[in-house]
């Protein structure tokens, strides 16, 4: 994961806010997501918001703890569990379903605005999972909304997606809105 860190350092060192699209191969997914958080939280000391659509909060927390990353600096929005109900535990809000995009948007907006520091980040993990539960047109609109909001919030935005699982047109659109695209792993 040294490659990712170096790329991140080189590309975004001087930037205060940006949007980075990280396409990743499934087998490297875990390492990549942990490395990104480690870079932002442990190395840069930034607080942020982590939106997880893949792994439940408990699993993410456990993974972060095993990598010695301070999870207290982050607000988690968990849209994985399909319990249906919204509930809040510690610093995590369970949305209940990845289909509740309106609630997810409001939660992200409130969480980002609640962070008192000038520099903060938002990690969206991951775009391809969103496509499983929502129509392509809805996902495209959501992506447009998300990138617009990241610019408005002036945060360091990182969107992770599995390259092979993401529709090429969606990926192209997102690449167009992003400042950088980092391809990790896979055949490329």
């Amino acid at each position: 994961m040294l490659e990712l860190k170096e790329t991140l350092k080189k590309e975004i060192k001087t930037l205060r806010d940006y949007i980075i699209l990280i396409t990743v191969d499934a087998k490297d997914y875990q390492k990549v997501s942990t490395s990104i958080i480690k870079f932002l939280v442990s190395e840069q000391g930034l607080p942020g918001v982590y939106v997880t659509l893949n792994k439940p909060y408990e699993v993410v927390k456990r993974n972060l703890a095993s990598s010695s990353i301070d999870h207290r600096l982050m607000i988690f929005i968990d849209a994985t569990s399909r319990s249906g109900d919204i509930k809040k535990v510690e610093n995590c809000l369970y949305i209940g379903s990845p289909e509740k995009l309106s609630d997810l948007s409001v939660a992200m907006d409130q969480a980002v605005k609640a962070l008192p520091t000038n520099e903060k980040f938002l990690i969206f993990d991951s775009l391809n999972t969103l496509s499983i539960f929502n129509k392509p047109s809805t996902v495209a609109r959501f992506i447009h909304f998300l990138t617009g909001k990241i610019r408005e919030w002036k945060v360091k935005g990182i969107i992770i997606t599995l390259e092979k699982e993401t529709e090429p047109s969606l990926l192209d659109e997102l690449t167009q809105f992003s400042d950088y695209r980092i391809d990790m792993g896979g055949e490329s």
């Binding site: 207290r72 509930k87 610093n91 209940g96 609630d103 939660a107 609640a114 008192p116 520091t117």
Partner: protein
């Protein structure tokens, strides 16, 4: 009389326009807390609109619908329902603020960031003093 009719009709038009706007907004939202709140709000508004329509009809046509042993003006029952629905909507707003409000978490994170920075600065000072002594 003409003034009362004008005011009543205008009220009904505004009410119906509001309901149409809510319906359009609702269609754009996916299922969840915000949409449920919108439903509650639409119910409140519906009761008020029914009340206004009833009153307007009575003013224009002079129709009086008496519901025996209820009240002189039965339409006021809708105002009562509207207030009940408003209470439910307000309760939903409280729930939404509990769910989506992150101020508390933000304050905690701020505290941690401050502590971390202080710790880092102290460590830096300590290293400098150590180097100076050498």
């Amino acid at each position: 009389m003409a003034h009362i009719v004008l005011v009543s009709v205008t009220t009904v038009i505004f009410g119906i326009a509001s309901l149409l706007l809510i319906s359009r907004a609702r269609r754009r939202l996916s299922d969840g807390s915000i949409r449920r709140y919108m439903d509650n709000f639409a119910i409140c508004l519906s009761f008020i609109v029914i009340f206004s329509v009833w009153q307007t009809a009575r003013t224009i046509f002079g129709v009086n619908i008496d519901v025996e042993s209820l009240t002189t003006y039965p339409e006021y029952i809708f105002i009562a329902f509207a207030y009940i629905a408003f209470v439910i909507s307000s309760y939903r707003v409280i729930k939404i603020s509990e769910e989506f409000g992150f101020k508390e978490q933000g304050a905690k994170i701020n505290q941690i960031v401050k502590e971390t920075k202080e710790g880092y600065q102290m460590q830096k000072k300590f290293t400098k003093t150590k180097k100076g002594k050498k």
